[in-house]
């Protein structure tokens, strides 16, 4: 009889839990029927104003609710029409004429015209707006001068509306990747009347991006936004190509932790798992290969050397450090997520593959170190590898520490810092060796090689080479692709010879996509396109 309260408690628990019903329909199953796509989307978006944000999660939403002059085919990244239905390029490659789609409209039904682009780009270049990506417009004639205040009349900047549907853009130099940049959020058009309703052209942080106020021009438009919970977008019936949109809604879930995201995917709350936790990749490979998508990224993981600090100011020391890294060991046994060893800064691509290679040659490394005055590592000062706090970076640093000990008999220490502290240390050159990565902004070698020009904002190694700067400049003015690649290749060899940076691997991305999602294509730029995506009712 004593046990009656316990039995009652157990009974209550059973009733309670079974009331929570086990045959709930998952959001994915409901979404499949109603064409609602659920996507894991990383951090909470800071905003969706395309001229203010800087992050990838924001861009994923902007790609749904805005559209640039051109768009990309997610299968092969080929340029396809966006707001512009066609365009012409002058022979010298500096003058572009865009013919806007006559049916192009804003989500409130207003016509989208050439003047909208002129006004939007003027806004993007207004200093008071605080656009951190303003420089991506600097390849337009006089854009930089307007930004810095050297000219104040925007009509002097190389962008003009010739008539309602005709837009002309004049560049500083022939820029083969200009069309690609048009798809970047900093060049998206914004709706003037909406923005002016809430403030001046350069008012930062007005509520125009709230769902109740928002007007965009993408295939979808903003429906709902609950911070840290969900951003949802719905089909935009005013979109010029509304027929090719099959989804009714996309729900972007801001999930910071990849382990949480993975559980949501398994429980049928997400169609798209943006980033599989490293530890789970093997499990998915074996048990759910049908949902796993592994693909290379146009991005490089590398180490920076502070070339102003001895002994790293000696090129032989840097070479010795570089030649003693066995990258295969790292990609096969540490990262294990489909990464490939990188022997140069620019990742290989179908249009350019660097010919120079930083070899793995521990014997040569030893000889170089001896030549630099440290035979068998004797007298070599203790250097520190700096990285931002994260398990993956620590593992790699540990392996590299081991490799240097084995090949060169030198000791290095490891130091981790919180992200913002790490950025500040790197920027102020307060480091010796530092972990780094670069994700291409556009699909062209220039996005990588431009990093290392003298005093470039992202150089951060103190390295400088006049010939290198000249080559990057020559490439910028070259209109022949073969000639341009030759300049890039020579520049790349300079990097490989002088080793201001130590490339380690080319990134790969591991995503999981439910099998009910059709026409979802992955590519090296991790560029998302929702236009033709649709859902079938089959289970995952």
């Amino acid at each position: 009889m004593k046990n009656i309260p316990y039995l009652m408690l157990c009974l209550a628990a059973v009733i309670f839990f079974s009331a929570c019903s086990s045959d709930r329909e998952t959001p994915v199953a409901i979404g499949n029927e109603q064409q609602i796509l659920h996507v894991g989307n990383g951090d909470e978006p800071s905003d969706i104003d395309p001229h203010i944000t800087t992050g990838v999660p924001e861009f994923h939403i902007q790609q749904a609710v805005f559209e640039g002059l051109v768009s990309k085919d997610p299968k092969n990244l080929a340029i396809v029409p966006g707001v512009a239905e066609r365009w012409e390029v002058s022979e010298d490659g500096r003058l572009y004429t865009f013919y806007l789609h006559p049916e192009a409209k804003w989500s409130n039904g207003d016509d989208l015209v050439a003047e909208d682009f002129v006004w939007s780009w003027q806004r993007a270049l207004k200093p008071a707006l605080g656009n951190q990506y303003a420089y991506s417009l600097f390849l337009i004639k006089n854009a930089e001068a307007f930004y810095t205040g050297d000219i104040t009349d925007f009509s002097e900047v190389g962008v003009k509306a010739l008539d309602k549907h005709l837009l002309q853009v004049e560049l500083n130099s022939p820029t083969p990747y200009f069309l690609q940049l048009l798809d970047h959020h900093s060049l998206y058009p914004v709706h003037r009347p909406t923005i002016e309703k809430f403030g001046s052209i350069d008012a930062r942080g007005t509520p125009w991006t709230r769902p109740e106020n928002f007007v965009g021009n993408g295939p979808f438009t903003l429906k709902d936004w609950v911070p840290n919970q969900i951003i949802s977008v719905k089909k935009n019936p005013e979109y010029w190509d509304a027929e090719s949109i099959k989804l009714n809604e996309i729900h972007f879930h801001p999930v910071q932790q990849s382990s949480t995201e993975e559980r949501m995917f398994r429980a049928g709350q997400l169609h798209i798992l943006r980033q599989l936790p490293t530890g789970k990749i093997d499990v998915y490979r074996k048990e759910h290969p049908e949902v796993l998508r592994t693909f290379l990224n146009f991005a490089t993981y590398f180490y920076r050397f502070n070339t102003t600090k001895p002994p790293l100011n000696d090129v032989r020391v840097r070479q010795a450090l570089a030649y003693s890294i066995d990258r295969h060991q790292i990609t096969e046994h540490v990262t294990k997520g489909g990464q490939i060893p990188a022997y140069a800064l620019t990742p290989p691509s179908e249009f350019y593959t660097p010919s120079a290679k930083m070899p793995y040659d521990p014997e040569k490394a030893k000889a170089l170190l001896a030549e630099a005055g440290y035979p068998n590592g004797e007298g070599f000062p203790k250097l520190t590898i700096l990285y931002n706090t994260m398990d993956e970076h620590q593992k790699i640093a540990l392996v590299i520490q081991q490799m240097w000990k084995q090949a060169l008999n030198i000791d290095v220490t490891l130091e981790n810092q919180d992200w913002k502290v790490f950025l500040a240390s790197q920027r102020s050159m307060n480091y010796e060796i530092s972990r780094a990565s670069w994700l291409g902004d556009y699909y062209d070698p220039n996005t990588f090689l431009d990093l290392m020009i003298t005093d470039g904002g992202n150089n951060e190694t103190g390295w400088s080479n006049a010939r290198y700067d000249e080559l990057i400049q020559l490439a910028a003015n070259a209109s022949d692709p073969t000639e341009r690649n030759r300049y890039f290749d020579e520049a790349e060899s300079l990097l490989v010879d002088e080793v201001p940076i130590l490339p380690i691997y080319t990134y790969s991305w591991n995503m999981a996509v439910a099998t009910s999602v059709k026409e979802w294509h992955n590519n090296v730029m991790d560029y998302w396109s929702y236009k033709n995506v649709y859902l079938t009712s089959e289970t995952k």
Partner: protein
Amino acid sequence: MFGFILKRVAQAIPVILIVITATFFMVRAAPGGPFDEERAVPPEVTKQLNARYNLDAPVWQQYSDYLLNLLRGDFGPSFKFPSRSVDEMIAAGFPITFELSMYAIIFALLIGVVAGVIASLRANTLQDYVPMSAAMVGICLPSFVLGPLLLLSFGIWLDWLPVSGWGYTPGDKILPSITLGSSYAAYIARITRGSMLEVLSQDYIRTARAKGLSTFRIVTVHALRGGITPVISFLGPAMAGLLAGSFVVETIFQIPGLGRFYVQAAFNRDYTMILGCTIFFAVLIIIFNLLSDIVLVWLNPRLRQDSVKRG
């Protein structure tokens, strides 16, 4: 009583001022600014942004401007979320964190007090050892372990409850509340057991027993009133700890509460958001401590006399 409250409120003001001042200067002293990104931006851009958010003014002026705005109840705009104000984000996130914490504390009280009472009645038997060992495990098991464990069992294997979200279905509030409340339940169980054992050995309990009252009546009417006092004084700090410490649970269960905003703000160097949340939580902690003191005084006549004398 009124004098007592007034005195405590007066004591709180300098505490809050110290919190504001220390936080204000500490966030600015931390390396890395709110607008530092992996990609270096041209210096002109940084200059514009600093001007926009008053970061180019001398620090003492920023400080006095901040205090003046604070007097008007304005925590300022968030640096990370340009179109949102700190006030707005606290107003959006706090009710959720509060709701979660209330469920957690109710869960903790229900389980903790019942387990503690049972254990104290059957001291040094199996019915004491089992719940008390469970409590020990509960105290030791951090929420970032318990949360995923519960999720895997009830969310994925049994598929009874959703693994994330808040407010979509009533079921999605169960696991986070249990995760957040369990270690407090464990503490409460141990505290209850200890103080109940003490109370049960008192003379007036023996008298009650001698009068032939049932155990149930002795516990609920006579013993619990005294036995629960330490639990009440524990509740104030516990509630504050729950509110400020819900971050882990909010992250695991994907709950849009204030805890997540707060911790993200620190990583983002979102100065105004860090300050706003810190001040807000400081005030809350002071309020909850005060409330638990008031309840304590009200429950315990001896303290009431004291507070009248002191107050």
